[in-house]
Symmetry: D2
Subunit: 210 residues, 4 copies
Amino acid sequence: MTELRAIILNASFKTSEDEESNTEALAKEVTNVFDKEGIHHESIRLADYNIKYGVSDDLGEGDEWPKIFEKIKEADILILATPVWAGEKSSLAKLAIERINGGASVTNEKGQSIYYNKVAGTVVTGNEDGAKNAASSILFALSHFGFNIPPNADTYWVGTAGPGPSFIEADGIENEFTRNHVVMEAYNLIHLAKILKENPIPAQGNVMED
Amino acid sequence: MTELRAIILNASFKTSEDEESNTEALAKEVTNVFDKEGIHHESIRLADYNIKYGVSDDLGEGDEWPKIFEKIKEADILILATPVWAGEKSSLAKLAIERINGGASVTNEKGQSIYYNKVAGTVVTGNEDGAKNAASSILFALSHFGFNIPPNADTYWVGTAGPGPSFIEADGIENEFTRNHVVMEAYNLIHLAKILKENPIPAQGNVMED
Amino acid sequence: MTELRAIILNASFKTSEDEESNTEALAKEVTNVFDKEGIHHESIRLADYNIKYGVSDDLGEGDEWPKIFEKIKEADILILATPVWAGEKSSLAKLAIERINGGASVTNEKGQSIYYNKVAGTVVTGNEDGAKNAASSILFALSHFGFNIPPNADTYWVGTAGPGPSFIEADGIENEFTRNHVVMEAYNLIHLAKILKENPIPAQGNVMED
Amino acid sequence: MTELRAIILNASFKTSEDEESNTEALAKEVTNVFDKEGIHHESIRLADYNIKYGVSDDLGEGDEWPKIFEKIKEADILILATPVWAGEKSSLAKLAIERINGGASVTNEKGQSIYYNKVAGTVVTGNEDGAKNAASSILFALSHFGFNIPPNADTYWVGTAGPGPSFIEADGIENEFTRNHVVMEAYNLIHLAKILKENPIPAQGNVMED
C-alpha cells in the first residue's frame, strides 16, 4: 500500500496560541478525509514562524523557512490555505509562494524540480468575496513551480457581499457546495498523489539544466 | 502503446484566413513536440466559429460551440492558447472558458465530470506584460472544471514593457526561457495524460450528484 | 449649473428582449441616484449590439461598436457593469475593454486621451464569488486608458459560496453594504465628474505625441 | 499656491542599507518630476520597518506601521511601489494594502474616509511579466479604500519573458514607454491632487456611519 504524507500551510495571521483560525477550521474538514484514508498529515501556522522576506529557500540566520521547506520536501501533498483579505490571499500566503519559488530550482535525483510528482491544492475562507482570486493565484504559482494540480483542488467558503460572520461563526460547513468540494479536493489530492507515486513523471523534457 | 489526442483552441482574434497568428506560431512549437512523439493533434481558431455568449454547452440554433465541445470530449489534452490584450487573456479566451464551464456538469461513465482524466495547459503571446495573469486565469478555470494541470503547463512569450513587436516579428522563439518551457509543457502534458489514461482517477469522492 | 451625462454599459449576456438582467437591476439603483440629482443617463445592453472582436475603435462593416463609442465620447461618467462568470467579469465586459482600449489614442482638443476628465465606475453582480476580481480588472483598465476613478467606484452583490439565487431573486438590495456602496459610488462619480468638468486636468505631461 | 506632499512606499525586500532597489530607481524618476514642480516628497522602504501582520491601523507593541500611517495621513499623494515576484506584487506590498485597509475606517473632519481627497498611483519593476497584475491589484485596493486614481497612474518596467536583468542593469529608463508613463503619472498625480485640494469631494453620500 502506498503511504502518503500531506503538509498544510495555513497563511492566517493568527498564531496557534490565538483563537481558532477560520481557515484552519475548513482545512480540518479536508484533513478529516485524510485521517479516514490513512494519509499522514501535518498542519502548520505560518504565523508561528519567523519567515524572512525574499525569494530563496534559505535566507540565513534567524530565518525559519528552511524548517518548513524540509516538510514540503517530504510531503506528497501540499495544501496552501489562506484567509481572504482585501479580496485576495493574505500577505503571508504570498510570502509562502515567494519562498516556495526560491526552492523551485532544487532538483530531485532525476534532475527535475523537487516539486515534481507532488500534488497541490488550496483552502480559502473569508467573510466575503475573493476566494477564487486567491485560489487561482495560489494554484497557478504552485503549478508553475512544479506541482501537479488535480481536478477541483480548491475548497472555499465566503459569505454574502460585505462585512459579516466568518466561516466558524457562520456555520459555513453547513454549505453543501463547500462540503462537496472538501470531499472532492481531499480525494482528488489523494488519488493523483497515489497515481504519481506509483507512476512518476518520466525525466524527459523536464530536466533542469545547470 | 497509449494513443493520445490533443486539441488546441487559439483565442486570437484572427481567423484562419487572416495573416498568421502569433499565438499560433508559439503553439506550433508545442505541437511540433507532439508530432515528434506521435500525439494526434488538431488546432482550431475560435475566431472561425460563431460562438454564442452564455454558460451552456449548447446554445441552440446558429451556435457552433457544440462542434468544438465534441472535439474537447474526444481529447486527452486541451491547450487554451491566447494573445494578451490589455494585460489579460482575450475576450474570446474568456468566452471559451464560459462555454467549457457550461459542459462541466456533463459526466463520464463513472459519473465524474467529463473533463476528469484530461490534462490542460496554455500558451500565451503578447507584445508586452500580462502572460502570467492570462495563464493563471485559464489554468485555474480549467482545473476548477475538472482538468488536471501538470507541472509547467504554461508557455509564453512577451516583450519588454510597452508597445513593440509581437512574437513572430520579434523572433521570440530565440528566447531560451520560452523554448525550454515549450518542451517542458509539451512533455508534461504528454506524460500526465498518458499516466492518467493508464491509471484513471478512481470514482471516489468525485462523482456528481443528480 | 454643471450638466452631466452618464453612460452605463451592461455586459450581461441577456439582450433587452430577454428577462431582466440582475446586473441591470443593481445598476438601476445607481441610476436612481442620478435621476434624483438630475444627471442624464443612458443604459445599454452590450448583447443588443454586434460588436466585432479586435482592439480598435472601428472595425468596419457590420461593427456596431462605433455607435457605443460615440456615446462614451459624449459622456462624463462611464459605468461598465458586468455579471460574474467563472469568478471573473464576462467575456462581453472584456470585449468592451478591448474596444475602449482601441479608442484610447483618440485625443481631445488639448491632445490628451479622449477619456481624460471623464470618470468611471463599475457595478457587479453574481450568484457567488468574483466581484472584486471583476471590479479590479475593469477599473484598472479604464484608469490605464485615461479615465479617473473616484473613491468607492465599485458596487457589487454576490451571494454565499456556491450555486444560489442571483441578485433579484435573492433580494440582494436588502444587503446594507451593497446599498451603501450604491450611494457612495453614485455620489462620488457625480462629485468627481463635476469637479473635473469645472477644473479639467491641465495639458501638462499628458499630451499624446504623434 | 497649493502645497502638496507625496509619500512613496517601496515594497522591495531590500532595506535602505542594502544595494539600490530597482523599484526605487524607477520611483525616483517620478519624484524627479515632483522636485521640478516643488512637491514635497518622502520615500520609505517598507523593509526598514517592523510591520506586523493584520488588518488594523495599529497592532500594538513593536508594530511600526503607525509611523507610516501618520505619513500617509499627512500626504496628498500616495505611491505604492513594488517589485514583481512570481508575476505579482510583493508580499510586503500586500501587507501594506492590508494595513492601509485597517485605516480606512478612520474619518476626516467631514466623516469621510481619511483617504478621500488623496490621490494614489503605483510604480512597478520586475525582470519580467506581472506589472499590470501588480498595478491592477494595488490601484483597485487603494480606490476601494477611498483614494482617487488619476489617469495613467501606473508606471512600470519589465523585461522580456523569462529570467533577465532588472531595471537598473537593463537600463530600463531608456524605454520610451516607461519614460512617458513616468511623466504622465507624475503630472496626473499632481494635477488631480491639486484639483482635489482646492475642490474637495463634498460630504454627500459618502459619510461613514458609526
